[in-house]
Symmetry: C2
Amino acid sequence: MQAAQIIHIEAPATVANMVCGFDILGFAVKAPYDEMNIRFRDEPGILIVNEDEYNLPTDPEKNVAGAALLAMMQELDPATGFELRIRKHIKPGSGVGSSAASSAGAVVAANRLLGNRFSREDLVRFAMNGEKVASGVKHADNIAPCIYGGITLIRSIHPLDIITITPPPLHVTIVHPQIEVRTADARSILKKQVQLKDAIRQWGNIGGLVAGLLKQDYELISRSLEDVLIEPVRSILIPGFDEVKRRSKAAGALGGGISGSGPSVFMLSKDEPTAQLVAEEMKAIYRSLGLDHHVYMTTIKADPL
Amino acid sequence: MQAAQIIHIEAPATVANMVCGFDILGFAVKAPYDEMNIRFRDEPGILIVNEDEYNLPTDPEKNVAGAALLAMMQELDPATGFELRIRKHIKPGSGVGSSAASSAGAVVAANRLLGNRFSREDLVRFAMNGEKVASGVKHADNIAPCIYGGITLIRSIHPLDIITITPPPLHVTIVHPQIEVRTADARSILKKQVQLKDAIRQWGNIGGLVAGLLKQDYELISRSLEDVLIEPVRSILIPGFDEVKRRSKAAGALGGGISGSGPSVFMLSKDEPTAQLVAEEMKAIYRSLGLDHHVYMTTIKADPL
């Protein structure tokens, strides 16, 4: 055991539920990201040290990174112990995969320490235990893009089947209005049944979006960034949503929607000047609503974690 | 007007509702195809001459090719007249786009005679009037692949948005069991509402199928050829369906499903020897069921009509 080795990792924020791709399409961004350091410790078990302001639990079973590591450790020598130092920069509850960054970052870092003994699919499986702690649901919507990079398509969850889609250059503007949208609430307001005709329209857009990304056809991407099922229901939880969408598109954005289950909203643009105009619109809208907010400008992170 | 010019066209059979891509994905095949000859006539209106065994109507309003031409003629000089001779090889009611071949073939041929004055989208629009005569619904599921070639994605019908997907080489085996499945019946047994979780599984497969085709990833294509919504309901109308699917896949087929609304069933294979094995399985199954049947072996037709 190389007790002295320290692995440092930067686990990125992610956008899940990419417009029409509810539960199946997501992507990683270059910033913000969480920083983590992991090393072996001499005694078994996990020691978590939080080096940020968020007062997250240090009990490994209650900490998302801890829960992910515990799942991994079930397949390791019982004597293995890890010390994990976490410095979060992705605000929990903002809807850009804060818990996924912790869970995925922890297991990717630990796996590197272990000489990459586990496959990427194994790591997704472990990290999903962190999501269970965070939201009650073992979903891979943020975990998959965080670990694989680029845009990921979760074709199937049982069995796990993750496909990486390399997009053309895309600039991402994200606004985080400082309100709370609980994932459980965002999920409970969705209807369990949908009209077949709406489902068909949605899958036309999914096919169009995947084709547009792979064919690097920005016009097709833009036309396909339409969600007729989830957004009309969930967007009522996000003040200013319609205005953000309308004014971002007027400023030249290709389109966008709710990031994860909100409250963050993202917009995609072809170039940085457009992304900057979108950022200005977002700020103006939330200033006029009198809502605290934070705006990020970034790009899609193409490389895996 | 070049009264003497005759345009000859071979309008291909098409497979609509490509497994998970109900109402949005279809493809054209090299055979069978209908033959048509069109020329201007000296008097206004349409003269239809059927040169086959099917006794289809010759009244332009009741003939699918005639209905498509009539839609086109509303945008032409009222004095224009066409003589259309049709020799159908695609059996009506077999589920491989027989009516679409007539409708699309007629307007594409007429457009060539007119010096290609209309766009492909216009032609789809005209031809959809033929589908209305055939099935009561103005759908583009077969029209789009017939006119555009390759695999077509109908992202949206209002407004019409058709995307061509160029697939890797694919061999197609189609069995047509000689039973009648009325499109109206096949449509009426579908539920108007579906479970959101099933819709999500379906759109994972659609994303996977489009990605697999564009990335030329046969394994991904195969995994994505799954329909959890329509096939379980409609396949009960087709004797031997489950057996065809099971034995075709055991013989090496990538997968397949109901062609259009049936009764034909298609299977895709990577190479011709596999497609041949699939054909043998299909024949054996319908022989043992004592059902008359016809098996076609062909490939996807990449070029437009």
